[in-house]
Each structure stands twice: as C-alpha cells, then as structure tokens.
C-alpha cells in the first residue's frame, strides 16, 4: 500500500476531461492550492466542480475558471469572482446553487454509503422544485441525493503516509466530508509524517478514505477579508 506521491502533478495525473471533482475549502480557507495549480497546468477541461465557493479572480478555483476548464459549478455561494459572473451571464458556465448544509450533507451521505437524505432546507422555495417532499412528524423535508464524484481533492494540515489526516481550525470545513466521498481521494498536506507519528485519538479522516497523499509546498493561504483590532 503506497499512497504517497511526489507532488500535485502526479496526484492529479488521471483527472480526465468531463470529470466530476470535489474541492475542499470554505472561501480560500483550506483549499487544495497545489492541486488547483496542477489542474490548471494540466489543462483538463469540462470539469464539474463541487465546492462551497468558486474562488476569487486570481486564486483558488478562479484560476481554473479563467482557463475555461469548468463546465459546471455546484456551490452554495459564488459571490467573490467577477470572471465567474461574466461566464455565467454569457452562458459559458452552468451553475447549480444549493444550500450549504445540503451541500455538506450530500458529501457526507456519499461517504457514509447512504444514497440520499431528507433535509428541511429549501422547502417551499425554488430549491424544492422537482424534488420529492416527505412529511415526518408534521414537518416537510426534501429528498437530496448523495453526490457521485470521480475525484475528491482535499487539503489537510497534517497527514501520514497511510493517508490519515488532521485538519487545522476552520480550514477543516468541507475537507473531511469530501475526503470520504470521492471514488479517488487525493489529499495534500502541509506536513507529511511517517506512519505512527500521529496520535490515533486525533485523526479526523482515517486513511481508508484516502488514495493518494503528498506534502504540498509554497502555501499562500490568502486571506479574503482581513479584519483586525488595533493593538492595545
């Protein structure tokens, strides 16, 4: 069992045109920067990207949008990207907006082997159009299907050579859910350590879900909204 690859190029080498790809992160926090750069370099096209957001114009998934690599985005909020808006309005890009909790739960369902879940989010709104509605205890719920993604690409803080992962702070977000949900899961980590060095009590994603892992480099970790107090 060798899951370790040298770098992002090797990790994403079989991502094919038209693939469905999950990308972890919330805004620019906890995004797989190295793999996104490699996907841009590879030039793979017509991707369906499942990710909470679509990056900004010059970073994150925005870099792939700029190269016209994305056919469809499935997200909950896409407000930070002018190129995204241009492609959407010109009809070059399809977008499916879904509630954030529904997005998370559809990832989770895939990772837990459940074909679908019921959630109240979107009942009585246009999100409910075409979906089965069922009542439980007098309240209405929508049937939402598990995602079926070819690849899940996630970013963790620490990982070991067996693929066990630990995330840092709010950079966890969608990463552990997507890690569980991909047919092939690729993890890039800030620190890759030998098996046995991570405390089993602290593992967020067990290595069984992870197929490829590598230590990333040159993380920019851009801040989208810098908000600070003046020092006392």
């Amino acid at each position: 069992m060798n899951k370790v690859v040298s770098a992002a190029d090797e990790a994403i080498k079989d991502v094919f045109d038209g693939a469905i790809v999950m990308l972890g992160g919330f805004g620019l926090c906890g995004i797989p920067e190295n793999c996104i750069t490699a996907l841009v370099k590879k030039g793979v096209k017509k991707l369906t990207c499942i990710s909470n957001n679509a990056g900004v114009d010059d970073f994150g998934i925005g870099l792939m949008l700029k190269q016209r690599q994305v056919k469809k985005m499935i997200s909950s909020y896409v407000g930070e990207n002018a190129e995204f808006e241009r492609q959407l309005l010109s009809g070059e890009l399809e977008v499916e907006l879904i509630p954030q909790g529904t997005l998370a739960t559809r990832c989770m369902a895939a990772g837990y082997g459940m074909p679908a879940v019921f959630t109240p989010a979107g009942v009585g709104t246009e999100v409910a159009i075409g979906k089965e509605v069922r009542q439980f205890n007098g309240k209405e719920y929508l049937l939402e299907h598990a995602f079926d993604a070819d690849f899940a690409i996630v970013k963790a803080w620490k990982g070991d050579t067996d693929g066990n992962l630990i995330y840092k702070e709010t950079a966890r977000n969608f990463n552990p859910l997507m890690a569980m949900a991909g047919k092939i899961t690729i993890a890039e980590v800030e620190q890759l350590v030998p098996v046995g060095e991570l405390d089993p009590n602290n593992i967020h994603t067990p290595g069984i879900y992870v197929h490829r892992i590598f230590q990333g480099s040159n993380y920019q970790k851009r801040i989208e909204q810098l908000t600070v107090r003046k020092a006392k």
């Binding site: 808006e85 909790g101 990832c107």
Partner: protein, 218 residues
C-alpha cells in the same frame, strides 16, 4: 429618529439569554456581538465550523486558517470547538442553536423570508441561509423597514424568491420591533421619535397595534 445599524444590533442583543448558542449572519447581525449585555454569556456559532467565536484578532495576529462564515479573520474564546460543515449544519438542523439573527430583503406577515435572490441580478447563492431558516427555533430578522425606493419590506406576501417559509419570529427594523404572529405583524416597540402612524404607513403587511406602544430606550 430611525435607529442606526448599531442601534438595531444593540436592540437585538437585548433578546440574548444566558447560555444561548447563537448564529449571527453577515452585516448588521454580526454587530450584535458588540452589544452582548454584561452578565449574559452566549456562545457564537459560525457555520463554517466553529463554536466559541471571539473578536477580530489584533493586527499581525491574524490566522488564515481561522475565519468566520463571512470569510473574516477571527479568534476563538476559551472552550471553543472546531468541526466540519456537516456537523455544523447538523447542530443547526437538530435545533441545538437557540437563536439565529439574519438580514432580509422582505418578510411576509406569515413569517416567510426572502434574502438571497433578486431576479435579473447576479445571484450569488444562498450560502447557509436556507438551512438556518428551515431549522432554527428562533429567528430574529435585522432589516430596514423600507427599501431605498421607500417601499415597505414588511409585506402581506413576499415578491422575491423565498429563502424559507413561516420561520421568522421577530423583526427589529430601523423604526420598530415587531413579533410575527399567526395574525400578522404585532407592533411591540417604536424607535425614539417615530410615531405609530409612521410605522403603520410603512408596513404593507397586516399590522396589529394593541394598547400603548412604548418607545425604545438607548
């Protein structure tokens, strides 16, 4: 005088109870955190995966791995916890969060809310708003009573695409505090210097006025 955004937040903060878990939306709701009354301890939930959100970091101490749902750099307080997005919305869906405060473009007299989409304009998405309004036990809306054209945002029926149905419990606007009841908007308080007549004229939905309506004190 209409309330300022800060005063709306300050008034909403008086609804907080000791021990509440609270989710504050982006905009005016975020400001509520600045007015938590002394002696009241609440735990702030940020739906990107944190309970126990603290204030903005001091200059130079910002951490790119630590943000709130508005993508702003933040800090944690003692006793905080991180979790993934499914657990975050799981605790919301399961009714563990006591109070949700969010903004709105329109609210109907039945408590429907519209706050995510304007037809013909670029749609950015609903984020976590639909999940929050579908599950929260108690939802307070912070909003302006009228839109920039002077039209009421408190309506008999929403005209914009809905975020959720029959979910808003209370509204704190720039001129009034109202409960959303089975019979319509019930006027509870008016902003300093604002008359009941003015509130009446600016509320398109059914307005219930019973007895003397007190003026808010700041």
């Amino acid at each position: 005088m209409s309330l300022t955004k800060e005063q709306i937040a300050q008034r909403i903060a008086r609804e907080l109870k000791n021990g509440y878990y609270v989710n504050l939306g982006i905009g005016i709701p975020t400001l509520v955190a600045n007015y938590i009354p002394s002696g009241i301890n609440v735990v702030l939930q940020s739906e990107n995966g944190l309970l126990g959100m603290g204030p903005f970091p001091f200059e130079g101490e910002e951490d790119p791995d630590l943000i709130n749902a508005g993508k702003q750099t933040i800090t944690t307080v003692p006793g905080s916890a991180f979790f993934d997005s499914a657990m975050s919305f799981g605790m919301i869906r399961a009714g563990k969060v006591d109070l949700t405060v969010l903004g709105a473009m329109e609210v109907s007299e039945e408590g429907d809310i519209a706050n995510w989409k304007i037809p013909g304009k670029m749609v950015k998405g609903m984020g976590g708003a639909m999940d929050l309004v579908a599950s929260a036990k108690n939802i307070i809306v912070a909003m302006m009573h009228s839109n920039p054209k002077g039209e009421s945002k408190l309506l008999a029926k929403c005209t914009l695409p809905l975020t959720g149905v029959k979910c808003v419990k209370k509204i704190v606007s720039d001129i009034a505090v109202l409960d959303v009841t089975a019979d319509g908007f019930r006027l509870l308080e008016r902003a300093p210097g604002i008359t009941v007549e003015e509130i009446k004229s600016k509320t398109a939905g059914k307005l219930i006025i019973e007895g003397e309506i007190p003026e808010m004190q700041f």
